[in-house]
């Protein structure tokens, strides 16, 4: 009890301190495009990168290296989930037993599954044109697989195929970076033509990277779900 109240008091003090500093000192809502780096992104982003979606331009082109890192973070985290759950009482060959899903769920998932995959793919293919991108599209794809798991108790993914897919798309991203280095001397340099902004085939390397990320994120999140589903209680 004493421990808890001390903790609460500390949190309260921290909250008040942070809240008032932020309320007083954070230049919230001001026009700050002249002070930092943002004016360059906002006024030159479309010309520089050829992507109509500025967020994508920053995430994949200006700061593409961070994105490569974030993809790796997710990759490592998915592996980590597998690591924690590894051998945690999963008897070999034993399938998970569950009550069969109802007819409505089964039929619905059969119809919706391809649509959800398509929607996910749409999001990441159009990452440089419309809001969304690889991470969002990948998450939607993983949701589609989640649907499969919920509706069909016998469904499970082919691990080798998923691993191979993940590897290939991950390597594609890294290879695009290395190719930039070989061709121009800069890692992850946009070595393809920008094209005209607004068209599907524009923005240089962005579509390639976003398709790779989309597939990779989808495969990884599905892998996490699969790992969780397969563990015995």
């Amino acid at each position: 009890m004493i421990k808890k109240s001390i903790a609460l008091i500390l949190i309260a003090i921290l909250f008040v301190a942070i809240f008032f500093t932020l309320a007083n000192d954070l230049p919230f809502g001001d026009n700050r495009t002249t002070t930092g780096v943002s004016d360059k992104y906002i006024y030159h982003g479309v010309n520089d990168t050829g992507a109509s979606n500025l967020v994508t331009a920053i995430v994949v082109n200006y700061r593409g290296f961070d994105t490569l890192g974030e993809v790796t973070v997710l990759f490592v985290a998915a592996t980590g989930v597998g690591a924690v759950l590894y051998n945690m009482g999963r008897p070999a060959g034993k399938k998970r037993k569950k009550t069969e899903a109802s007819l409505i769920v089964r039929t619905g998932s059969r119809i919706l599954f391809p649509m959800m995959l398509l929607f996910g793919a749409y999001i990441f293919v159009h990452g440089h044109l419309t809001p969304g991108g690889g991470f969002q599209g990948g998450a939607v794809i993983a949701t589609a697989f989640l649907f499969k798991y919920v509706s069909d108790t016998r469904y499970h993914i082919d691990h080798n195929k998923f691993t191979a897919t993940e590897s290939v798309v991950g390597m594609t991203f890294a290879l695009v970076g290395i190719m930039g280095l070989l061709l121009t001397g800069y890692f992850l340099f946009n070595f393809l033509p920008n094209g005209s902004p607004g068209e599907l085939l524009s923005a240089g390397i962005i579509p390639i990277i976003y398709v790779a990320i989309g597939i990779k994120v989808g495969a990884e999140l599905t892998g996490i779900l699969d790992n969780m589903m397969e563990v015995e209680q």
């Binding site: 490592v76 592996t79 590894y86 280095l181 340099f189």
Partner: protein
């Protein structure tokens, strides 16, 4: 002279990390060789980088966007020295690995192993604050996963340590991220050099809050005192090579990130240095006195490692060139000697099957070579003459003498902490050589592949004690780099 772009030191390991799982489907034994090849590449690249960066800092722009708009890699003598340390420790640990990995786990283990190296290398080379965060994430998540993979007999213990580390580690990255967001809000930029030039004119309250957040976040990685609850469990729960990686790579990279933020971005903010000094002294004493009480060999080494991190914090917060050189020397020495100690301890525990210190009685007769190597590492951490630790402590104390009366006090405290260190390490060494073993049988020494990294590390410990000038050649420019700050290095870009 071949020039290897520093970004390849990240690009190649990431590529290989993605490649390994799919090759392993076809060729089961490949992960070990692919990982070895990658580490070798990084070792060569970082050696070349260190030679180049001694003349002028190597700057590599990512994606062709000039800073502050894009991400930039800045490899000064300090960064490249640490990159070399990271890749060489990883290489030596790679030799040490085989019997300590659980069957069936090799693929993912090696993948995580090289990604850990890539993350740590990125942490020391990047010149962009958010990029530093990304690499910190890679490093810490790879360490959680390695910890989880490495369980042997004590499955439950390792999983518990993993969950603990994972929760604390997520808090750490949350704090770090909020700190970065606040800094970006106050200055509108993320490039370290640009931040350094804009911080003096930014809102002081915001900047200080950001600094507090970042110190909290990175302090967890650097085992700073109130934030190091994960450390003993993680070191004990992990398999021996992973403990080596924690002590020599993960914690060093985290500590270096902390130092870089405080010195390079905040221009050695005095407020921060005072706090670091106090926490450093606390870390030193809490670590050393907890180590005194341990009966578990690896736990003792873990607490000793916390104590050493405290010593480093104290050395750096003295903020003069001598102390910085001493701190860097201690950092190198600790990475090398603690790596050696964890490896030797791993061999003991592997042969004995227990982590209890009392089981070490008479090990000098039962495993003479490993015992000798363990003793060398222990002597160096204690700071006996002719070993690296001696030089580092002398230089740190010389540095603290320059800081006036306050420095005197610090010097006395460092010396008394060394005394505690002396006691608990001598106790173990005494057991190893002086006590009669209960069971006289010779134990099998580790095979040569495992002995080799230990011998290399022991040789370096000696070299650091006998011929420190060679190391000062790199460390003095490195310390000057820290004191000068980033602004002059990239020409204020």
């Amino acid at each position: 002279m071949v020039n290897i772009d520093p970004t390849l030191m990240i690009g190649i390991p990431l590529f290989m990390g993605f490649l390994i799982p799919s090759v392993a489907i076809v060729w089961k034994n490949s992960p070990r060789y692919l990982a070895g090849f990658t580490i070798l590449f990084n070792l060569i690249a970082s050696t070349l980088l260190l030679i180049r960066s001694l003349n002028a800092p190597v700057i590599s722009v990512l994606g062709g966007w000039q800073p502050p708009y894009g991400i930039v890699f800045v490899a000064g003598p300090l960064g490249s020295m640490l990159a070399l340390l990271i890749s060489s420790m990883t290489m030596l640990t790679w030799f040490y690995l085989p019997p300590h990995i659980k069957e069936g786990n090799e693929t993912k283990f090696y993948m995580l192993f090289i990604l850990l190296m890539a993350g740590a290398t990125g942490m020391v080379l990047t010149g962009d604050l958010f990029n530093l965060f990304v690499f910190t994430e890679i490093t810490s998540i790879a360490s959680f996963s390695l910890l989880a993979y490495s369980r042997g007999k004590d499955e439950k213990e390792a999983v518990e340590a993993t969950i603990k580390y994972m929760i604390i580690g997520s808090l750490s990255s949350a704090f770090f991220l909020i700190g970065i967001a606040l800094l970006y809000g106050a200055t509108g930029t993320l490039n370290m050099a640009d931040l350094a030039s804009k911080i003096p004119s930014a809102n002081h309250n915001l900047v200080m809050m950001a600094l507090a957040m970042i110190i909290t976040g990175l302090g967890i990685e650097a085992e700073m005192f109130p934030l190091n609850g994960w450390t003993p469990d993680a070191y004990t729960g992990a398999t021996h090579p992973v403990s080596v990686m924690f002590a020599s790579v993960v914690v060093k990279a985290g500590f270096f990130a902390l130092i870089r933020v405080v010195f390079l971005i905040f221009g050695a903010a005095t407020e921060a240095l005072q706090i670091l000094m106090i926490f450093g002294l606390l870390t030193l004493f809490v670590g050393e006195s907890s180590a005194l009480r341990q009966t578990d060999l690896k736990r003792m080494l873990a607490y000793s490692s916390i104590g050493q991190m405290g010593l480093l914090l104290v050395a750096f917060s003295l903020n003069n060139q001598t102390a910085l050189v001493g701190g860097l020397y201690a950092m190198l020495n600790h990475a090398i000697a603690k790596g050696l100690l964890f490896m030797a301890a791993g061999s003991f525990i592997f042969a004995l099957g227990t982590r209890d210190i009392s089981a070490l009685n008479g090990m000098g007769k039962r495993m003479p070579v490993t015992s000798a190597l363990f003793t060398i590492g222990a002597f160096s951490i204690m700071g006996l003459p002719f070993f690296g630790g001696f030089i580092s402590k002398i230089v740190i104390i010389a540095g603290s003498m320059q800081a006036g009366t306050e420095g005197m006090l610090v010097a006395i405290l460092i010396l008394s902490a060394s005394l505690i260190e002396l006691v608990y390490f001598l106790r173990v060494v005494h057991r190893i050589w002086m006590r009669e073993p209960e069971d006289d049988s010779r134990l099998k020494e580790a095979p040569f592949t495992q002995m080799f990294p230990m011998i290399v590390l022991a040789a370096f410990v000696f070299l650091m004690g006998i011929y420190p000038q060679a190391f000062f050649k790199v460390l003095i420019p490195a310390a000057q780099e820290l004191l000068r700050g980033l602004g002059t290095m990239i020409g204020g870009a």
